[in-house]
C-alpha cells in the first residue's frame, strides 16, 4: 500500500471524527425526540411522536414560533439591506478612514454576545425601546448585518468595475445602473445573505432573551422548558429549530456556490 493512500484514509477518518463530534449531540437529540421514555437512556423505548404532539399543542410555542418568524424575516431584510449598502460603499468609493470604517462595520460579531446583549438592553431601555418585538429586530439587525455585508462584498469584488460605467455609458442613470446591473449581478449573494441572516437571527438566544421582555422567541422558550425540569419536549423543539436553521444555511450555500461555479465556467 502506498503512502498517499494511507494518508488519504487517515484524512477521511479525521474529517469523519470532526463531523461526528459536531453532529452527534444533535443526532442524539433527534433520536430521543422520537423516544417514548422520559429520560434519555439506552436502551431506547418505543417510537413516539408524543413530544411533538405536546409542543404543537402548547400555545406558548406557537406564539414563540410566530415571533421568531417575524423577527428572523424582518431582520433578514433589514440586515441584508444594510449589508448591501455598506458593501456597495466599499466597492464604489474611496475615502479617508475607509479602513476604520470597514473595521467598525465588521465589529459586532466579534463582541461577546452576552456583552452585546447587556449593552443592547441598557441602551434600548434608556431610549424606551426595550421589551418590544422590534427591539429584537433592531438588535439582530446590528448583529447580522456584517455577515450580509461580507457575503455581498465578496460578490461585488468579482464584478468588473467597468460594468457599472458601461451602464452609464449606454444611457443609464445611477439608479438605473443600480437596478439593472449592480443588483442583478449581486442577486445570488443577496438571496444567500437573506437566508444566512434569517438563520442566525432564528436561533440566536442571548440578545433575544435580554431585550425581548415578554415577547419570547423560540430559543427563549427552549431555555424556559429546560429550566423547569428534564423534559423531552426540548429534543423535539430543538430538532425543529436545527432543521430550520440548517435548511436556511444550506440554501444560502446553494445560491452562492452554484452561481459562482456558473460564472467561472
Amino acid at each position: 500500500m502506498n503512502q498517499t493512500r494511507v494518508l488519504n484514509i487517515m484524512l477521511v477518518l479525521y474529517v469523519a471524527c470532526i463531523f461526528a463530534f459536531i453532529f452527534a449531540p444533535i443526532l442524539f437529540s433527534l433520536v430521543f425526540s422520537f423516544n417514548s421514555q422520559r429520560f434519555p437512556t439506552i436502551p431506547l423505548g418505543e417510537f413516539s411522536t408524543e413530544w411533538y404532539a405536546k409542543i404543537f399543542a402548547d400555545p406558548d410555542v406557537w406564539i414563540a414560533a410566530r415571533n421568531s418568524l417575524i423577527v428572523s424575516v424582518s431582520t433578514a431584510v433589514v440586515a441584508t439591506f444594510l449589508g448591501f449598502c455598506t458593501a456597495y460603499s466599499d466597492f464604489r468609493y474611496n475615502f479617508r478612514f475607509k479602513g476604520p470604517y470597514l473595521a467598525l462595520i465588521l465589529l459586532p460579531p466579534t463582541i461577546p454576545l452576552i456583552i452585546m446583549a447587556l449593552a443592547m438592553l441598557a441602551w434600548l431601555s434608556k431610549l424606551g425601546l426595550s421589551g418590544q418585538l422590534w427591539s429584537i429586530i433592531l438588535a439582530h439587525s446590528v448583529l447580522t448585518a456584517p455577515f450580509a455585508m461580507a457575503i455581498i462584498r465578496l460578490r461585488l469584488n468579482q464584478m468588473d468595475p467597468d460594468l457599472e460605467s458601461a451602464a452609464w455609458n449606454l444611457g443609464g442613470s445611477e439608479w438605473q445602473a443600480m437596478r439593472h446591473v449592480i443588483i442583478p449581478f449581486c442577486m445570488p449573494s443577496i438571496v444567500s445573505a437573506l437566508c444566512l441572516t434569517a438563520a442566525v437571527s432564528f436561533d440566536e438566544f442571548a440578545v433575544s432573551w435580554f431585550v425581548s421582555g415578554l415577547n419570547k422567541t423560540v430559543p427563549v422558550v427552549i431555555l424556559e422548558i429546560v429550566q423547569g425540569n428534564i423534559d423531552p419536549q426540548v429534543n423535539a423543539i430543538g430538532t425543529f429549530v436545527f432543521l430550520t436553521s440548517m435548511t436556511l444555511v444550506i440554501l444560502a450555500q446553494v445560491f452562492f456556490i452554484s452561481r459562482q461555479v456558473k460564472s467561472h465556467s
Binding site: 468588473d160 467597468d162 460594468l163 460605467s165 458601461a166 451602464a167 452609464w168 455609458n169 449606454l170 444611457g171 443609464g172 442613470s173 438605473q176 439593472h180 446591473v181 442583478p184 449581478f185 442577486m187 456558473k262 460564472s263 465556467s265
Partner: protein, 361 residues
C-alpha cells in the same frame, strides 16, 4: 475641412499629483477614423474617458457638436464606448446586452428587440442572440460589444483597445470589420491603442501621445516618413536617428557633421543657422546596401551585427566605425544576393530627400 465634431482646448486632467493629460488641444472631425496611440500611462485612455464623461477635466474645455461637455454626466451623452474588458453584462443574453442601451433610453420592447437582432445579424452573430454571454468565444463577444454600442446609432464611437485580448489572426479580421463598418456608417471612430500596427492599418489620422502631451498628429504616412520629434521617431521604430552640427547649407539641403560622417539632409521647414545642433532620421526601409562604395554623398561603411526576420522582411542591425547603430529593412530575397554574414563590411547609402530633419531639435 468641415467644422470639427469634437474640440479639446487647453484640457488638463490631474489625479492628485499625477498629471494624466496636460494642455491638450485637439480637433476631431466628423466621419474620421482617429487613433490615439501611446505607451501605457501616456494619457490616451484618460482622453477617451473624458470624451465619454467618465472623467471630468481639471481645466480647459471639451466641446462635442459645439456644446460644452465638461459637466455633462456620462448617461446624458451620446458617446458609446467599446471597453477593453468588453464589460458585457454576464447575467444577460447576447440580445439583452445589445438591447440594454435602448432599454435605458425607454425604447419599447418590440422595437428594441427588432433593432438588437438587426445589429446582431449585421455582425454575423444572429444565431447566438439567445445564448448567455459567458458561453460565447472572444471574437463573438467582441461583436456583441460592438453591436451593443452601434445599436445606439451614435455620431461617434469610442474604442478602448478593443482588440487587445484577441489572437493575432482574429485581430486582422476584426480590423477589417472595423474599417468597413466605419466607412459604411460614416461616423467618427476614436480608437485608443498601444499598437502601432492597429493604428496605422485603420486610422485616417493618428495622434501620438507621450506623458500626457500630444507628440504629433498626422496621417500614418506623415508620421512614418516625417516624425515631428525624437520621441515619435523612436516610438514608430525602425528609424535611424543621427544627431550632429549643421556646417553649411546649399540648394539641396543642409550639411550635417555627425560622429558617423558628414551627411546632407533635406532642408527643414524652419531654417536654422550654421553651428546649431540638428537631428535627422532616415527610415530603415529607405536605406540601400552595396558592396562597392556608392556615389551618393550620404554613405557610411558599417559592420553587420545581427539580423531579424519577420515573414519575408528582414531587419539588419549594423554598426558604423564610431559605434552608432544603423537599421536597414529589406526583402529577404534581396539579402540573399548580397551574401552577408555577421562581421561583413558593407556600404549604406540614402537619398538626400529621405533624410528628414526633426523640427525643434
Amino acid at each position: 475641412m468641415s467644422e470639427p465634431l469634437v474640440t479639446f482646448r487647453n484640457v488638463k486632467k490631474h489625479f492628485d499629483d499625477f498629471v494624466a493629460v496636460r494642455d491638450m488641444d485637439l480637433d476631431i472631425y466628423p466621419g474620421e477614423f482617429l487613433a490615439i496611440m501611446g505607451s501605457s500611462g501616456c494619457g490616451k485612455t484618460t482622453t477617451l474617458r473624458m470624451l465619454a464623461g467618465l472623467e471630468t477635466p481639471t481645466a480647459g474645455q471639451i466641446h462635442i457638436g459645439g456644446e460644452l461637455m465638461n459637466n455633462v454626466k456620462p448617461h446624458e451623452r451620446d458617446t458609446p464606448l467599446v471597453w477593453q474588458s468588453l464589460a458585457l453584462f454576464p447575467f444577460l443574453s447576447a440580445r439583452e446586452n445589445v438591447e440594454f442601451g435602448l432599454k435605458m433610453r425607454g425604447v419599447a420592447p418590440a422595437e428594441r428587440t427588432r433593432r438588437a437582432l438587426e445589429w446582431l445579424n449585421r455582425m454575423e452573430i444572429g444565431e447566438f442572440a439567445e445564448r448567455n454571454i459567458t458561453t460565447l468565444s472572444g471574437g463573438q463577444k467582441q461583436r456583441v460589444a460592438l453591436a451593443r454600442s452601434l445599436v445606439m446609432e451614435p455620431k461617434m464611437l469610442l474604442l478602448d483597445e478593443p482588440l487587445s485580448a484577441l489572437d493575432a489572426n482574429l485581430v486582422i479580421r476584426m480590423q477589417a470589420v472595423l474599417t468597413r463598418l466605419q466607412k459604411e456608417l460614416g461616423i467618427t471612430f476614436v480608437y485608443v491603442t498601444h499598437s502601432q500596427s492597429e493604428a496605422f492599418a485603420m486610422a485616417d489620422r493618428v495622434v501620438i501621445m507621450s506623458q500626457g502631451e500630444i507628440a504629433q498628429v498626422g496621417s500614418p504616412k506623415d508620421i512614418y516618413r516625417a516624425p515631428a520629434n525624437r520621441f515619435v521617431a523612436e516610438f514608430v521604430g525602425r528609424n535611424n536617428i543621427l544627431t550632429g552640427t549643421q556646417v553649411s547649407q546649399d540648394g539641396n539641403g543642409i550639411v550635417v557633421e555627425t560622429p558617423s560622417g558628414t551627411f546632407i539632409a533635406s532642408a527643414p521647414e524652419t531654417a536654422r543657422s550654421d553651428g546649431s545642433e540638428v537631428t535627422f532620421v532616415v527610415s530603415a526601409d529607405l536605406v540601400s546596401l552595396s558592396v562597392e562604395e556608392p556615389q551618393d554623398r550620404n554613405r557610411v561603411l558599417c559592420t553587420l551585427i545581427s539580423e531579424e526576420f519577420v515573414g519575408s522582411m528582414v531587419t539588419l542591425f549594423l554598426e558604423s566605425s564610431d559605434g552608432h547603430e544603423f537599421k536597414v529593412q529589406m526583402q529577404e530575397r534581396d539579402l540573399i544576393e548580397l551574401d552577408l554574414h555577421s562581421g561583413s563590411q558593407i556600404w549604406l547609402s540614402w537619398a538626400v530627400e529621405n533624410a528628414h530633419v526633426l523640427d525643434g531639435e
